[in-house]
């Protein structure tokens, strides 16, 4: 039976929920904290969301979604445009591969894997930016941000879990 256009549109909107959730969380965490020092503790919410959705609902969070999240991060930073896009897509690539083995992993294991993936991602980004700017960037501030992202992981993930359990269908629906 062919789906009506309303049904198709409903499925299309359902598939955008992870991306919209990610955007909302990112906007909340972009709000001014009025402190340069506190800026280092700002978690990179985009990375947590991309990791979570790519791992749990990969078919709803494509490379295009990662592209959009990276683009937004780039606009709200002064790093070269395209860099965060590249890193978000790499994150989807790695998580997609990890998802084959750990999709139904426990929360603790998911957190641990995120710790490793996040560390790799942030160190690679630090290296690329150091080369790009021709200046060794302070690693301590970067690590502070990494640890705060790691600390915020349960909080951000619990929001995403709520969205997944309450707004998304439990079974897979293809677009």
């Amino acid at each position: 039976m062919r789906d009506s256009w309303q049904e198709k549109f409903r499925i299309f909107l359902l598939h955008r929920i992870p991306l919209v959730t990610t955007f909302i969380l990112m906007f909340i965490f972009f709000t001014p904290v009025n402190s340069v020092q506190l800026n280092y503790f700002r978690p990179t919410v985009g990375v947590i969301c991309v990791y979570y959705w790519a791992l749990k609902r990969g078919y709803m969070f494509s490379y295009i979604s990662a592209f959009c999240v990276g683009f937004l991060t780039d606009v709200y930073s002064s790093s070269p445009l395209g860099l965060n896009i590249l890193f978000m897509m790499l994150l989807v690539f790695v998580t997609d591969w990890l998802g084959r083995y750990f999709q139904s992993a426990s929360f603790g294991l998911g957190w641990f894997i995120f710790g490793l993936v996040g560390l790799g991602q942030i160190l690679l980004k630090w290296l690329v930016l150091t080369i790009y700017f021709g200046h060794i960037l302070s690693l301590s501030e970067v690590m502070l941000s990494y640890f705060s992202t790691l600390l915020f992981y349960p909080f951000i993930v619990s929001i995403n879990v709520w969205v997944q359990n309450h707004l998304l269908p439990q079974e897979r629906i293809n677009e």
Partner: protein
Amino acid sequence: MWRRGVLLIKFSELRVNFRRFFVFILFVVSFLTVLMSKLDNVIVEAAHKAVMDVTGPIMQVVEYPSRIVHRVYTYFYDISHIYADNRELRAENKQMLILQNKVRTLEVENQLLSRLLNYTPPAEATFMSAKIIAESGDNFTHMLLVYIGDEPVKKGQIVLGDESVIGRVDKVSGHYAKIILVTDINSKIPVVVERTRVRGILTGNNTAMPTLLFTRSTADIQEGDVVVTSGVGGMFPAGLPIGFVNTISGGDISVETMADISRVEYVRIVDYGLSNEEEIRMDFFESDK
């Protein structure tokens, strides 16, 4: 029936291959964007501005509750410090009165000397206030997004916190402007140490304290010295305060910014009448090469 099945399989294979190719294209596009952003490409600029235009209003709505929380916190913080502040201000006021008399004398002297030299004063600065609506999207950069409304803000214009320089306008898009803070890695400002007139470049390093570079190793610089803009390159007017020399260790001179960004809700974007600021900036960097 069999043929149809084969066609369907071929079609799905084609779809998978197309998907892979599309992902590959996305990676190539993002990589090219990184390279193009280094060249200040028009397409990249336009894309950047479009996203700022679309997301700016959302950010304004989202930041409103946080602004209220911050105001309430500041209110109670100020009340708890009112006694100490009052004592400090009384002492400061005494000093100010002494300085006021000195300033009056110097002002008269300055007017007399200016008349003797037939000196033409620079154009008066005009400024506008802009509300901060967002901060850096990642920890590798220090920037602010401000709402400028319909004001004619230009790229390269100077941004003041309370009374000192906190950054410059990097991008303008419709009602929003992106400001690069002096602490950002992309920020390079020609400065001079006020006491000894030693020149240097204040370079952001993504920490709270930018460093003073290109100063002579024998230069007379002490902790606590005030650092002001030198005006070299014509990008910023001379004499605007930025910060104090905080620490000197070996050849590294760290500068603490004067403006307390944690208290800044609004910034002032100043137009010093430096026409074609962007061209001046480009000339400055080209001559630097």
